[in-house]
């Protein structure tokens, strides 16, 4: 691994198609370039939304207006949520690492529909830019929250329709990606790769893709209905015309709850790839992890009412949704058990990917347990719409999906770019991230339980201590984010050259050069053994 050798093959990054330069990227149907384009766009939007979050924390360091007024604050938390949910977290792992590595992991040259894949990226960018436009065109930025609850979203004089349209188009991009991945996994696995010889990240992408296809359209039509309320006074959600605002909540959450499984399933898939590699032993309970992904997708489709326990839905409805919410926690717990068992007795190498993956488990567990508090009817009454909820979902989404993304980029970076980053700086960045994250979000559990509402611009003085601590955490976290990204950007150009398999992984991506050639494989491999086969041990599943 000398740092002065050129690559000995033409990588996908060097490949010149019909067009050169930027146009070459924008017209490329190569899944790897598309994955990178998603990654660069998502990183930019993530940083924008993170800075918006930082502004919210600065505002909340003291009661009353600090750096903005109430209306501005409402606009900031709305766009922070819209960007993070629809542009960063829902597409994030699938569009980035799914695009980059799904075909390689199953031994294929590309996805089933490469042109559709590029089209999806254009749809994604269109939706993202429309979302940005909502901040600057015409009236005030939308102030409804990313959940667009009626009646306010139908009445607010802000640029709601821009945001609704953006979310609609982003949803369409998500649907097409899911469709592409389902067909890819069904039709393009290498010879010999039966379903149960497929690695577990593709399994998670498969389960996710079904949710993308079957849940997203419902929020699509719901957003159109809100537009119809605003423009045509259609009345579905307007009590004055006979409509029901709770019906909006049902329709909205029928998608938006499964959406969180779109966020977390690929995250679980990513860490499931990391644990065996850095333990140098097969995944414990491969079958359980594969099936639990499907179980989470299926059961998770039917728990949406737990966002509505205090909205006035029927007793039996509340009972049923609470019951299923507890059930859906079980397959997740199974995965945690399997990840820990994978590491147990293994030859542990605490490199940055594993560090992030282990902290993923810790943060996901906290998020998960606090989800149970929210899922139980009695305690939900106390915690609904408080800062407790905010802490819960940031632990699950940011601590879960976010840290899994960081784990994934540190795992696959050498493969993507053929270079290695500094472990020292990766670990230091991790320290800031992990510390900052917990200092930022944990106090919100406490003040939430004490009664601090969410989405409130102002608060009583008794909550200030928690808010001050939280804001300090935000600064630590932001430093960590910039450190991590800087380390990786530096390594992109100046890192030591990485060989094909710096981590001694055994899945297919480690058998091809770093960076991979355009069509991934010189010859499509023939698969003969299970995916996490670490040589002649007696662990053959």
């Amino acid at each position: 691994m000398s740092s002065t050798e050129k690559y000995t093959h033409e990588s996908y990054l060097e490949h010149k198609g019909k067009y050169k330069g930027l146009l070459g990227w924008l017209t490329s149907t190569d899944h790897k370039k598309i994955g990178l384009m998603y990654m660069y766009a998502i990183t930019v939007f993530f940083l924008v939304a993170a800075l918006l979050g930082l502004m919210m924390r600065i505002e909340k360091i003291a009661p009353g207006p600090t750096i903005m007024d109430a209306q501005t604050y409402n606009g900031v938390f709305t766009i922070h949520g819209v960007i993070m949910i629809f542009i960063v977290v829902i597409p994030g792992l699938a569009a980035v690492f799914g695009n980059l590595f799904l075909p390689i992991l199953i031994g294929a040259k590309d996805v089933a529909f490469p042109k559709l894949n590029l089209f999806s990226w254009y749809l994604f960018m269109t939706g993202a830019i429309l979302g940005l436009f909502s901040q600057f065109v015409g009236g005030d930025p939308p102030d409804t929250g990313w959940t667009f609850y009626v009646p306010y979203s139908a009445e607010s004089s802000t640029n709601v329709i821009w945001a609704l349209s953006a979310a609609f188009i982003l949803g369409f991009a998500s649907i097409l990606t899911g469709l592409n991945f389902i067909v890819t996994i069904h039709r393009m696995r290498a010879p010999g790769m039966t379903w149960f010889k497929m690695p577990l990240f593709p399994w998670s992408l498969y389960a996710t893709a079904w949710i993308q296809v079957l849940a997203t359209p419902i929020v699509g039509i719901t957003l159109l209905m809100v537009i119809a309320e605003r423009v045509l006074n259609i009345g579905f959600f307007d009590p004055a015309l006979g409509g029901d605002p709770v019906l909006f909540q049902h329709l909205f959450w029928i998608y938006s709850h499964p959406a969180v499984y779109i966020m977390i399933l690929p995250a679980m898939g990513v860490v499931t790839e990391i644990f065996p590699t850095f333990s140098q032993k097969p995944v414990f309970g491969y079958g359980a992890i594969a099936i639990s992904s499907i179980a989470i997708a299926v059961v998770g489709y039917f728990v949406w009412g737990h966002h509505m326990f205090t909205s006035g839905i029927s007793y039996w409805s509340r009972w049923f949704f609470s019951f299923l919410t507890f059930i859906v926690a079980v397959p997740s717990a199974i995965k945690v058990f399997n990840w820990l068992s994978t590491m147990y007795g293994g030859k542990i190498s605490l490199k940055p990917p594993l560090l992030y993956a282990i902290s993923f488990i810790f943060l996901f567990l906290i998020g998960g347990f606090t989800g149970l508090t929210l899922g139980a009817l009695a305690t939900n009454i106390h915690t609904h719409d408080t800062a407790f909820v905010v802490a819960h979902f940031h632990y699950i989404i940011f601590g879960g999906m976010g840290f899994a993304f960081f784990a994934g980029i540190h795992y696959w970076f050498p493969k993507m770019y053929g270079r290695m980053y500094s472990f020292r700086w990766a670990n230091i960045a991790w320290g800031f991230l992990f510390l900052g994250f917990n200092v930022l979000y944990f106090p919100l559990f406490i003040i939430g339980l004490q009664g601090m509402p969410r989405r409130y611009f102002d608060y009583l003085p008794q909550y200030q201590t928690g808010h001050v601590i939280s804001t300090i955490g935000a600064f630590i976290l932001i430093i960590g984010i910039f450190m991590m990204i800087s380390n990786l950007i530096y390594a992109r150009k100046k890192g030591a050259l990485a060989g094909p398999n710096p981590w001694k992984g055994v899945t297919l991506e480690w058998k091809i050069p770093s960076p991979p050639p355009l069509e991934n494989f010189d010859e499509i491999p023939v698969i003969t053994h299970q995916p996490y086969f670490f040589g002649d041990t007696n662990d053959e599943d």
């Binding site: 198609g17 149907t29 040259k109 590309d110 089933a112 529909f113 490469p114 042109k115 649907i175 899911g178 469709l179 592409n180 389902i182 067909v183 069904h186 039709r187 393009m188 296809v213 079957l214 849940a215 997203t216 359209p217 419902i218 699509g220 039509i221 719901t222 159109l224 209905m225 119809a228 045509l232 006074n233 259609i234 009345g235 579905f236 015309l241 006979g242 409509g243 029901d244 019906l247 329709l251 355009l518 069509e519 010189d522």
Partner: protein
């Protein structure tokens, strides 16, 4: 070792078909949201829905149903034709399908404009003065048939593209995925109408 991957190398009609079915599922769920709203409000306001539906012209609705069913047959026949290698017949049948689609749209135009004449549209003073259930019925009527008509138009465009490609020889007995999948899309448009028709027109 190949240099540039051409997408013609990767020819998987079964995969393309699965892809179109998946897309059809998304359309079913898109309309499904509207059907759900319909179900909730029909349950709450059954008498008023019944009353409002009397304004709809069941005759035109039935005609449109027949037109779409026939068009489903002609497009299915056109797929049979290309499978048998008969491009000319396939084109002819597709042209009939397109004509049927146009008849449907013309009927829809007359239906809607007739209602507009009486100021029966969402947000109008007439509609606002109606009972709650009736207001919602009209909202659902316009949104559901409007979204459906949009899909008829999309289907129409797809079918025309297929005709053009049949004529140019790009679609043949061995390469007719676009044709078959466009046919599936057209059947979806028919399928949705099969449910819309009784729920909106025949609840009197």
């Amino acid at each position: 070792m190949s240099t540039h991957p051409t997408h013609n190398e990767h020819h998987d009609p079964e995969g393309s078909k699965i892809g179109m079915w998946l897309f059809i599922f998304t359309e079913l769920f898109l309309f499904g949201g509207l059907f759900l709203v319909y179900a909730v409000f029909r349950n709450k306001y059954s008498a008023e829905f019944h009353h409002a539906a009397e304004e709809l012209n069941a005759f035109i609705g039935t005609m449109n149903t027949v037109v779409l069913l026939v068009s489903s047959m002609t497009v299915a026949m056109s797929v049979t034709a290309i499978q048998k290698g008969n491009s000319k017949k396939a084109i002819g049948l597709l042209i009939l399908t397109v004509l049927a689609a146009l008849i449907f749209m013309v009927n829809k135009y007359f239906e809607w404009s007739h209602k507009f004449e009486f100021n029966l549209y969402p947000g109008s003073d007439v509609v606002k003065g109606l009972d709650h259930g009736e207001i919602l019925f009209y909202g659902l009527y316009y949104m559901m048939t409007g979204l459906h008509a949009l899909h008829v138009l999309i289907g129409l465009v797809l079918l025309i593209i297929v005709i053009v490609r049949l004529k140019s020889g790009r679609i043949t007995k061995d390469h007719y995925s676009l044709h078959e999948n466009s046919g599936l899309y057209w059947h979806l448009v028919d399928l949705i109408w099969i449910f819309l028709f009784p729920l909106l027109y025949l609840i009197t």
